[in-house]
Structure formats: structure tokens, C-alpha cells
């Protein structure tokens, strides 16, 4: 199908940009390592808090949490590519072709999902090296991919609507910590105030973290639904952008 082929070509473009920036690649590898080490070390004693369910290391608990954090933060930047293309003139060049418009979003999201899956495998590898146990690897990869796809679409949509790099960076930075802290990514919710538990029920990061540790269809289904909803949002935003030209 030409649409798929075109999406693939578009995603190749984004892959190349990353591959040609060694600094960026290095950060992509080093960042999860740092997070694992720092969070793992600082919160080591968390497992000794009465009420912390399950036995084992905090690292076992933490690893899926780091994965979902990374999925959201990586995906959050996807919209920057769009903004860059709009400002540079590359977007117009693509819009005058008869190519399927969906390819631009899909290509960008595909690149993000693949990157996040690779990063997740890296984190799992690092965690195993550090002596952790990682259960449900398949589900972990799946929820990471779904979360990445959802937030990449969201980022693309916001990027196209806001058109300013600083605004997108601001929005992403603003959201990342609350999304992480109002979930069970780093801490069991039984040990957190009740209101956090309530908010977490509506937090996709929590859905992903919970499902990664204890797979359940409901949460995976919700994530899949969110992915579709975000994709619809990104498409609508792009249409709004096209009408404004």
C-alpha cells in the first residue's frame, strides 16, 4: 500500500535525523541508566516501608516505572519535528505532493514507537544487569509502545496547533512530572494519599505502570483506546492547520 510505503519513507527521515546526532543518541542511552541508578539508589529503602506489598528489590518495582516515564518523555518531543518542518518549509513541500496526508503523522509516530521500544529493551537489559527481575516483558513492551504512540500523536497535534517550539517544550515539561507522580510509576499507591489514588485511575501512565506489573485487559484496552483517540486528535489538528494556510 502506497500509504504505508510513504509513512515508512517519512519515518526514515526522522530516524536519520536522530542517527546523525551522536550526542542525541548518547543521551538516549545514558538517560535511562541515570534514572535507574538515581531513583533506584535514593528510594532503595522504600521497600522497607510497612505496607509495601511484594518482596524483592525496589529496582524490580521501579523498572516498569522508568520505562513508562521514558516513553512519555520521548514521545512528548515528537511534535518538535513537526514544528521544525512547518517553520522550515519542508511541510509545504510535502503538502504539495499527492501523498496521503496521514503518512506525515504516521511516519513520525512510527519512528517514536520504534525508538521507545528500543529504549525499553535497553532499560530491561540494564535492569537485569543490575540484578533486577523483570516480569511480563512482552506486556511491558506493549504498554510502552501504546503510551508512546498516544503521547506522540498528542505532541504532534499540539505542535501543529501551537507552532512554537517553546510552547511545546513548556507543555511537555509541565505535564511530565505530574503524570509520573500521580501514578504508581515510582511508588505504590497504597502508600500515597488517597486523592493521588483517585487521580491515578484516570492517568494513562498509571494504566501502563499497573498493567506492566500485573497485566490486565482493561488497562491495556484503555491504552489502546487512548492511542486511537490521540491519533484522531492529531489528524484533526493537522486538518485545522491545513485550513489555516
Amino acid at each position: 500500500m502506497t500509504g504505508v510505503r510513504q509513512s515508512w519513507q517519512v519515518s526514515l527521515r526522522y530516524f536519520r535525523v536522530l542517527a546523525r546526532q551522536p550526542a542525541f543518541l548518547l543521551i538516549t542511552i545514558v538517560q535511562p541508566l541515570i534514572w535507574l541508578l538515581l531513583f533506584g539508589a535514593l528510594f532503595k529503602a522504600v521497600t522497607e516501608i510497612p505496607g509495601f506489598g511484594g518482596d524483592g528489590d525496589y529496582l524490580d518495582y521501579l523498572t516498569p516505572g522508568i520505562v513508562v516515564m521514558l516513553a512519555v518523555s520521548s514521545a512528548g518531543w515528537t511534535g518538535m519535528g513537526f514544528i521544525e518542518d512547518i517553520n522550515s518549509g519542508v511541510m509545504d513541500r510535502m503538502l504539495v505532493t499527492p501523498a496521503w496526508r496521514g503518512a506525515f503523522n504516521l511516519g513520525s509516530i512510527a519512528q517514536c514507537v520504534v525508538s521507545v521500544v528500543l529504549q525499553t529493551l535497553l532499560i530491561i537489559g540494564l535492569a537485569l544487569l543490575m540484578g533486577a527481575e523483570v516480569a511480563h516483558v512482552g506486556v511491558l513492551l506493549l504498554v510502552a509502545a501504546l503510551l508512546a504512540a498516544a503521547f506522540a500523536s498528542l505532541s504532534n497535534g499540539l505542535g501543529v496547533l501551537m507552532r512554537q517550539r517553546e510552547s511545546l517544550i513548556g507543555a511537555v515539561s509541565l505535564l511530565l512530572l505530574p503524570l509520573t507522580f500521580l501514578s504508581s510509576a515510582l511508588m505504590q499507591l497504597s502508600l500515597a494519599p488517597g486523592w493521588i489514588g483517585t487521580v491515578a485511575k484516570f492517568n494513562p501512565v498509571d494504566w501502563a505502570a499497573v498493567a506492566a506489573r500485573d497485566p490486565d485487559l482493561l488497562r491495556i484496552g484503555l491504552l489502546a483506546g487512548l492511542t486511537l483517540l490521540s491519533a484522531w486528535f492529531a489528524t484533526r489538528a493537522f486538518a485545522v492547520y491545513q485550513r489555516s494556510l
Binding site: T2, R5, Q6, Q9, V10, L12, R13, R16, V17, R20, S88, G89, V90, D92, R93, M94, L95, V96, T97, P98, A99, A103, R243, L245
Partner: protein, 255 residues
């Protein structure tokens, strides 16, 4: 790619476009015969780029009709996109990609899988040696040549050039003029170009229109327009296109 045969490459009637408070186009009519070079002149903000955006399906007019390459642009924009090539005022190259990668992407977006066209264009525009270096390492002239190559990848029937030689050194400009003349002559391509450079329009275009404040204020061949001015305001020296421009658009053109 199916190529329809048409007499008029571009037919636009009553184009109106408003951006908020600004009336960008206020009833623009254009007609371009197939296989000719048409020059669209006008001051900044006159509506040249807006007109080109509408003709190339990037924008939709608030009112009016548009037919490009025999296709109704409002009903079938995809059909128009298959037949046209665009070289925009802004660079459209991806600076992180190489010339080859830029051309391959564009080919794919047109559904072309044959890479021989890519090689052909790289050679024609003197980019073979730099083909596998990132575009950000290229000189301004090379980037412009790549912009043009990108616009030609699918052998369009109608080519739009929006201020193609702005910012180029004289040699690069002369080369691009020669290429435009060649395309018109050998490939019988219809070319619409917008420009500030009256010398460029005078030399390349067989028909000219001057747009000012969203309306076409003069149209004809360069010779006709100069003759008309000479009749109205006789002078010892025959009027130049600059004189014609000043008369209709009423503002000085920076030399």
C-alpha cells in the same frame, strides 16, 4: 503518470482570500496558456504568494474558481498535485538529509519508485559529487538547485517558481534562468514565476501580470505593456519594464 492535454494550464477567476483583517486577494483573474512562461510581478504583500498558494492547492480561496492542468483545484486537489511542481520561496530541502535522500523522499511522495530519475536530476543540476553529503553543507546556490530538482522529480506539466533567484549570486541566477528557458523550450513545461526582478520577468516571461493590493492591475506581454506606456506617456527613451511597473504598482522597486 497520465498526462491530460489542455490548452490553458492555469485558469483562475475571481479569487478572493481574506486573512482576518487583511484582504489578501480581491478578485484575481489569471489565464496561462500551456507551454508558456508567465511572470507574476508585484510589491511585497501584493498577493503574489497567496495566489501561488491557492494555485498549488496549499490554500483554498474564499471565493472564485481555479483550474490547473485541466483539473478543478477545489474539487480534485490531489489531481492538481500530481501534475504540478513547486519551488517555493522558502527552501524546502531537509538540511539533515543528503541531496539523494531529499530526492528519494520526494519521489516516493509522488509514488515513484524508479531511482533513475533521481540520478538524472542529480547530474543535471550538478549535484552528483555532493549527492551523499548532508544538504546543510551545501552553498546557497546548490541548495536552490536542489529545491528546483525536488520540484521537477515527477516531471510536472506545470511548474510554479516563487521568487526563484532571490538571494542568488549572478552566476547562479544566470544558470537558473538558462534552466528555466530550457524547460520551457525543450520540455514544453508551463511555468509560472513570481519575481521582484523585472529583468528576469522581461527576459523569461512571454506574458506578465502585475498584482497590487490583491488585484491584477496590468497584464500583457512585456512589449505590449511597454508600448502602452510609451503611447500614454511618450518619452525619448523607450520605457523599461521598471517604468511599466512603477506606473501600475506605484511604488519604487529597490534596484
Amino acid at each position: 503518470m497520465t498526462r491530460t492535454v489542455f490548452e490553458k494550464a492555469i485558469e483562475a477567476n475571481g479569487l478572493v482570500k481574506r486573512y482576518g483583517e487583511v484582504q489578501a486577494l480581491d478578485g484575481v483573474d489569471l489565464e496561462v496558456e500551456a507551454g508558456t512562461v508567465f511572470g507574476l510581478l508585484g510589491p511585497n504583500g501584493a498577493g503574489k504568494s497567496t495566489t501561488v498558494r491557492i494555485l498549488t492547492t496549499l490554500s483554498r480561496p474564499d471565493a472564485g474558481t481555479v483550474r490547473v492542468a485541466g483539473v478543478d483545484a477545489l474539487r480534485d486537489p490531489v489531481g492538481v498535485r500530481r501534475a504540478i511542481g513547486v519551488v517555493a520561496q522558502k527552501h524546502s530541502t531537509d538540511p539533515d538529509a543528503t541531496a539523494r535522500e531529499n530526492l528519494v523522499l520526494q519521489a516516493e511522495l509522488y509514488g515513484l519508485r524508479d531511482r533513475s530519475r533521481v540520478d538524472e536530476l542529480l547530474e543535471r543540476f550538478g549535484l552528483q559529487d555532493a549527492a551523499d553529503r548532508q544538504a546543510k553543507t551545501y552553498s546557497g546556490g546548490m541548495i536552490r538547485r536542489l529545491d528546483v530538482a525536488i520540484g521537477l522529480i515527477h516531471t510536472p506539466q506545470v511548474l510554479f517558481l516563487d521568487e526563484p533567484t532571490t538571494g542568488l549570486d549572478p552566476e547562479a541566477r544566470a544558470d537558473l534562468w538558462a534552466e528555466i528557458e530550457r524547460l520551457a523550450r525543450e520540455e514544453r513545461m508551463t511555468i509560472l514565476l513570481t519575481t521582484h526582478y523585472l529583468e528576469e520577468a522581461d527576459r523569461l516571461a512571454s506574458q506578465i501580470a502585475i498584482v497590487d493590493r490583491g488585484r491584477i492591475v496590468a497584464r500583457g506581454t512585456p512589449a505590449e505593456l511597454k508600448a502602452e506606456l510609451h503611447r500614454e506617456a511618450p518619452s525619448d527613451e523607450p520605457p523599461s519594464l521598471n517604468d511599466v511597473y512603477l506606473k501600475h504598482a506605484g511604488r519604487a522597486v529597490a534596484a
